[in-house]
């Protein structure tokens, strides 16, 4: 006769451990495919939706196997010859929406949270040359420190261990059975941590002239989207100013910055000019770390290149970084980029992006924490 056994399996974590290893591999694949992942439009439009699906092909174990979509299969259910039982995804293979329903569902996607993308993406991004400058107003950091124990407080913050100890001490010394009374309750209390924050302001400057096509604007917006995400993630507070320009430049709200479409010619210098005015009005350089980040297509009015160069030169002692990203599908060297490159100012970093896949490269160049960096990727 067989035995019925019941063992203690409570320490068995092999499943979870192997799962953790798989999770690590997903993350690794995430890091390897970041350039593709961060340029996915639906990610940028995902508005608060914290989980996204990304393709992680490597995690589908390789095998020599039949081509599923070219085979016939056997199923069960009602239906006559010729009746449709499901839709195949376009292209080869079959990817389904409902788990386990579709034929040969190849799971080539993994679910990752936006947080995980950000973690992988931002791990080594920093504002370069960030200096400790005295800030006019101390900033209250989000961090909450539990610093004290009191006998009054809110229930959610009951310190169970201390409450228990208190009850034990009291009932023992009174030679009474153990019981927790209202008087035994102990609560953790906290203080807001006030730390002086380093003041930093980032100027997001974008060319919205007619020469910037849909693809270029998309790349520019993708870049700024991730730049802001990174700033939000890594720093408690950074002042953001938004400047757009065509032949003239003006400051806009964040919303307008991402939406505005204009046309017309291009005078790049106007953007730097506007930034200079804002700096003079509100951001004394001895109190603020100033970052100027410009994205355009380099298609500048020829006569304006020199003016722009001079302005960048003039602003460079004030700024911790002047970043120039040229969105330029043909990777041609424009006169503007040549002017910028010829300045040879340590604060200036510049590069070109052929399309949105280069956004990651640009972010990594501009926000590389080291002091001794190259000026061009």
């Amino acid at each position: 006769m067989g035995f019925l056994i019941q063992d203690d399996w409570s320490l068995d974590r092999r499943g979870q451990r192997a799962q953790a290893r798989h999770r690590e591999k997903v993350k690794q694949s995430l890091r390897d495919n970041l350039a593709d992942i961060i340029s996915q439009e639906d990610l940028i439009l995902s508005n608060g939706q914290r989980t996204i699906r990304v393709p992680v092909q490597q995690l589908d174990e390789p095998h020599f196997r039949y081509d599923y979509s070219r085979q016939q299969h056997v199923g069960q259910g009602p239906g006559n010859k010729g009746q449709t039982i499901g839709r195949a995804a376009p292209g080869t293979g079959v990817t389904g929406t409902t788990a386990g329903e579709d034929p040969g569902q190849q799971v080539l996607e993994a679910q990752v949270t936006l947080d995980e993308v950000e973690e992988a993406l931002f791990a080594d991004l920093r504002l370069p040359h960030l200096k400790d400058k005295p800030q006019p107003k101390p900033v209250v950091a989000d961090a909450i420190d539990f610093t004290d124990i009191r006998s009054k407080g809110i229930r959610a913050n009951i310190d169970r261990k201390r409450t228990f100890m208190e009850a034990l001490r009291r009932s023992q010394s009174a030679h009474k059975p153990f019981q927790i009374t209202e008087d035994d309750l102990r609560f953790k209390t906290w203080q807001d941590t006030v730390i002086p924050d380093v003041g930093a302001v980032v100027f997001a400057m974008m060319d919205i002239s007619g020469s910037m096509g849909m693809a270029e604007k998309y790349t520019a917006r993708t870049f700024f989207f991730w730049m802001e995400k990174f700033l939000e993630k890594q720093y408690a507070h950074v002042d953001m100013r938004y400047i757009v320009h065509h032949t003239e430049a003006y400051e806009t709200s964040k919303d307008a910055f991402y939406r505005t479409r204009e046309s017309g010619g291009t005078r790049c210098s106007t953007a730097f000019d506007t930034a200079k005015a804002v700096i003079q009005a509100s951001y004394p350089p001895d109190l603020w770390n100033i970052y100027l980040v410009y994205v355009g297509d380099g298609d500048n009015m020829w006569s304006d290149n020199e003016t722009t160069g001079a302005l960048v030169q003039e602003l460079s002692p004030l700024a911790s970084l002047i970043a120039y990203l040229e969105v330029n599908p043909y990777n041609r060297i424009t006169t503007l980029s040549r002017t910028i490159a010829s300045l040879n100012v340590p604060q200036v970093r510049w590069t070109t992006a052929a399309d949105h896949r280069d956004v990651l490269k640009a972010l990594r160049l501009f926000f590389h924490p080291n002091q001794e960096e190259v000026h061009r990727a």
Partner: protein, 413 residues
């Protein structure tokens, strides 16, 4: 299962085993272990209770566990082909469910013990795997997790390419061509270090152990379902238990539009055999057949109609029902169950100086997936250490894929 249920389950087990023997089943000594959900899903993900760890098992574990958590599907039991035979029951099951599972695993255990394909399987594989897992853990300590994982990744990528027919006879070393790709690599690779060779050999051993189960999936599940139905019907189920049992049976035998349900189809075939040929025939078939012969000999139009089976295929962007004729369905199933559903590959070595590993696909009308060829060849290269090539047929033309350590090239032959 509530505490008082254990007593009831023990009594049922005693009754069930007696009754099953009386009906003609002859199973191994049984060990029923009641485990938490996590543990059952871990064992399912790993394939065995004592196997080494690999991320793909974790993926499997996670996926099945997720389905369970979401209520999409669930595992009721796990049974290990060994002597004594281990069955893992979920503590979250109701006592009635576990009673049915006991009946079900008795069917499996009998099948393991008597089906000819299982004749040479290692019945103490639980221990062999535990030993292999321990060695692999030592390799991880000596050579690092990453290096061990790399070898495992590579070996697992071709794990299905073994030759189970060598079991029970002396391997034939005279022929120049081997279906046993893993064995060929173990014996002839100059690249592998001893510990790496051990890992590849272990993966091969384990596949040889699993192989009969892959070859008899429909038969085995159908057999177990047939017997649990019989045994449960022989019990005097009270009102609520009878309803629960009917529901449970319905959910296990639920058909799937894109995949046939082996429990359902297997059961119906067994019932049909009993109707046509009598009780004794059941035991003869369970001993002599595997899925391929089982389906070829016994799948008929009555069964196709009862199970609502059809062949479907792709028309443009849609999957469409193509055929409901039993002969067509039978032939397709036989083709797809051949070699347990995996492509047949043969390995040989090109003479020096190239020492190239030549893999040729025994093409019989089913094409390989090119994307997977391109991803798998580098894995084989990792084990072989010299250029590797694979010959197959695409769109009616013979082609060869070659990988030399840097890139995969494709050329017409």
């Amino acid at each position: 299962m509530k505490p008082r249920d254990y007593e009831r389950l023990e009594q049922t087990i005693e009754w069930m085993e007696r009754e099953a023997r009386a009906m003609g089943l002859d199973f191994f000594d049984m060990r029923y272990e009641i485990c938490p959900t996590d543990v059952v899903y871990t064992i399912a993900g790993f394939g065995m209770p004592t196997r080494y760890s690999h991320w793909s098992f974790g993926k499997q574990y996670y996926r099945q566990k997720l389905d369970f958590d979401l209520g999409v599907s669930r595992i009721y039991e796990l049974v290990v082909n060994s002597d004594p035979c281990y069955a893992f029951l979920l503590e979250g099951n109701t006592v009635l469910q576990n009673e049915m599972i006991v009946a079900h695993v008795l069917g499996h255990s009998d099948f393991f013990r008597h089906n000819c394909r299982f004749q040479y399987t290692n019945r103490s594989m639980v221990d062999s795997m535990a030993a292999a897992a321990q060695r692999i853990r030592r390799y991880e300590e000596s050579f690092g997790i990453d290096r061990v994982e790399e070898v495992l990744d590579a070996a697992l990528s071709v794990q299905e390419h073994v030759d189970a027919s060598i079991l029970g006879r002396k391997p034939n070393e005279d022929g120049a061509v081997f279906k046993d790709l893993l064995g060929f690599i173990v014996h002839h690779s100059r690249q592998l270090e001893d510990w790496e060779r051990d890992i590849v050999a272990s993966v091969r051993e384990e596949m040889l152990y699993f192989w009969p189960q892959l070859e008899t999936k429909v038969m085995n599940e159908g057999w177990a379902t047939y017997w649990h139905t019989k045994l449960m019907q022989a019990r005097d189920l009270s009102g609520q238990d009878a309803v629960d049992f009917a529901q449970l049976t319905a959910s296990v035998a639920q058909p799937n539009r894109f995949n046939f349900n082996p429990y359902n189809v297997g059961l119906v075939i067994w019932q049909d055999i009993e109707r046509r040929y009598g009780r004794d025939k059941l035991f003869e078939v369970r001993e002599c057949d595997s899925d391929v012969s089982f389906l070829r000999n016994y799948l008929n139009q009555d069964i196709v109609d009862e199970c609502d089976l059809y062949v479907y295929g792709r028309r443009g962007s849609e999957w469409v029902v193509i055929e409901r004729d039993a002969a067509v369905i039978r032939d397709l199933l036989v083709q797809q169950r051949t070699n347990a559903g995996f492509p047949v590959l043969h390995a040989s070595e090109e003479a020096e100086p190239s020492g190239r590993l030549l893999i040729s696909h025994a093409y019989e009308g089913q094409e390989l997936d090119v994307k997977y060829i391109e991803r798998t060849l580098p894995m084989v290269y990792r084990l072989w250490g010299r250029p590797v090539s694979l010959k197959t047929v695409l769109n009616g033309h013979a082609v060869e894929f070659a990988y030399d350590g840097t890139a995969t090239q494709r050329k017409a032959v």
